[in-house]
């Protein structure tokens, strides 16, 4: 009768390779395959929408400056996190994020529910000189965000790239009308790529995020993005036990 000895694996490169691949693919299959099969992976919640052109530019600056190296955007379902940050994050809330900003490593606080917690003024002050408002902070200063004019010439291309991976920005009348139905006329106009630059400037005019109305700064975009984080879903409309059943 054939008796398996581990030595057989260790002394045969080809066999070792095949066995290693078999062991690894079990892990892959268990972790990945169910996401395509299980129906309840992602909650269906109201309110989640793509970012406006200005918010998207802000998000790109967030990534450019490496904010994600210290800040996660994922409130985990633990009591201490819920008390400090707010409702735990849902998968659906980052469905238009490419790439998502989840994470398990935090040097700074989690930012998934940051929107509306502080004033624009606070964000501007805090980004320029964090220790002037939070004395114990170890966050670097980002003074250039206020000085740099926002280069939004390529916002259309950025949105096209996101559209290619499934974000419902519109390039024609038909897609625009679909967005009107899904997100309302005001948002649909923001998501229309041919008007992206005008929409961006209009949002800066209306919001004046950096307190300086004379030009569009990178600060405008970043603060607009930070102020929308975690604000799209109205959790008062969702029964907590319904979310339990998605796990």
């Amino acid at each position: 009768m054939f008796k398996f000895k581990h030595e057989a694996l260790e002394t045969n490169t080809g066999l070792l390779l095949v066995a290693t691949m078999m062991a690894i693919s079990v892990g892959g299959l268990v972790e990945i395959a169910p996401l395509f099969l299980i129906e309840d992976t992602m909650e269906k919640v109201e309110g989640v929408r793509p970012y406006t052109p200005l918010e998207q530019m802000g998000r790109d600056i967030y990534i450019r400056e490496g904010c994600y190296t210290c800040h996660s955007q994922m409130v985990r379902p633990f009591r201490d996190e819920q008390l400090r940050y707010g409702h735990y994050s849902l998968a659906a809330e980052s469905k238009y994020d490419h790439p998502f900003q989840w994470g398990s490593k935090r040097t700074g606080p989690d930012l998934a529910r940051l929107g509306g917690k502080y004033s624009n003024e606070w964000h501007v002050q805090h980004l320029i000189a964090p220790r002037s408002v939070v004395p114990e902070s170890v966050m670097p200063n980002y003074p250039w965000l206020m000085e740099n004019r926002l280069n939004y010439a390529d916002i259309g291309q950025r949105m096209r790239a996101l559209r290619a991976v499934g974000v419902p920005y519109s390039i024609n009348q038909e897609e625009y009308e679909r967005n009107v139905k899904d997100f309302g006329p005001e948002m649909a106009a923001q998501f229309h790529i041919p008007n992206a630059r005008e929409s961006l400037v209009a949002q800066v005019r209306a919001g004046n995020y950096d307190g300086d109305p004379s030009y569009v700064s990178e600060m405008d975009a970043l603060v607009a993005y930070l102020q929308v984080l975690g604000t799209m879903v109205d959790f008062s409309q969702i029964k907590p036990e319904e979310l339990v059943k998605f796990r």
């Binding site: 099969l37 299980i38 379902p77 502080y118 004033s119 002050q125 408002v133 939070v134 796990r247």
Partner: protein, 306 residues
């Protein structure tokens, strides 16, 4: 590398020899390690049975462990163990422990809460946690505020009022500070005169002649400062206009300026440019009604509640 010629004595080797005498042991793994390994396999098997584990078809093995929580209809509901169910139950258990406190706070009027030492113990600890998480970003730990940005909450000077009801209103709906710019309506000399008058009101060094001129302007229709700041320049809390007669400065750090011209410059900047800041977010919806009540009492008790 060459095959060994002799049969090795003592410990087993792999049979490989380098540099004539360098050999490699091939001892079996220690028994304790092997059994430790078997225990981890056993642990995994138990874990698969108790907790959600393997995917099966369109679902997964849910495990035999369950969690019971109360649903929104107030009925008990049991679901297989998962972190969300566990969180829901933990939140409900903690809320049940705090409920007696919050219920008493919700029913009692502010004046009575303050007189109840036991209840104030709860307000101080719960209030400090809430304040640190939500308010300290601007008003700083301890509520000392920051000149030029965020008002000090530990003194008895209140922009929008320091009564319980006014503090609650501020927390619930937020605030937005505004003063119109006067750069176009007034000349540079007029603004400077007003600045000297404002300095004189706060007991700062100033030019008396210019201050007298400023006083007239303050009460005139040209500048109409009195309209918001009041005839006595003590501010109007319904508008959130500053009291100019005390020595407390929020927007301009006048006390730190060393000479009169730089003090005047700081005040001039505000009169000329106006203010469109002092935005406090609204906390309604973000905090519960009881949490807001606890914070109201906490802030009132920081030092200067009225």
């Amino acid at each position: 590398m060459a095959e060994s010629q002799e049969k090795p004595q003592g410990p087993q080797t792999t049979g490989h020899v380098w540099d004539g005498d360098l050999q490699e042991y091939n001892n079996p793994l220690p028994q304790w390690w092997i059994y430790g390994f078997y225990v981890t396999i056993l642990f995994a098997l138990v874990y698969w049975i108790v907790y959600p584990s393997w995917p099966v078809g369109q679902g997964f093995l849910t495990g035999i462990n369950t969690i019971t929580y109360v649903n929104s209809q107030g009925q008990e509901e049991t679901w297989h163990w998962n972190t969300r169910a566990k969180l829901l139950r933990e939140m409900q258990e903690a809320a049940a422990q705090q409920r007696p406190w919050f219920e008493r706070i919700a029913q009692m009027p502010y004046e009575q809460i303050v007189k109840d030492p036991e209840l104030m113990g709860f307000v101080r600890s719960a209030g400090r946690a809430l304040f640190t998480d939500n308010c300290a970003g601007c008003h700083q730990v301890g509520g000392g505020g920051k000149i030029g940005h965020y008002p000090n909450l530990t003194d008895d000077n209140w922009i929008y009022g320091g009564t319980f009801d006014k503090i609650r209103e501020t927390i619930v709906q937020g605030r937005h500070g505004y003063m119109p710019p006067f750069a176009e309506a007034l000349s540079r000399a007029q603004i400077d005169a007003l600045a000297h008058y404002v300095l004189s009101l706060a007991g700062e060094p100033h030019d008396a002649t210019q201050a007298a001129e400023g006083k007239n302007l303050f009460h005139s229709h040209t500048a109409a400062c009195y309209y918001c700041h009041g005839d006595d320049a003590k501010g109007r809390q319904d508008l959130g206009s500053a009291n100019l007669t005390d020595r407390i400065w929020l927007w301009a750090d006048v006390p730190s300026a060393t000479d009169v011209p730089s003090k005047v410059a700081l005040v001039r900047q505000i009169i000329a440019g106006g203010l469109n800041r002092g935005n406090m977010p609204a906390w309604e919806g973000r905090l519960s009604e009881e949490q807001i009540k606890v914070l109201t009492v906490y802030v009132h008790q920081l030092g200067g509640g009225q």
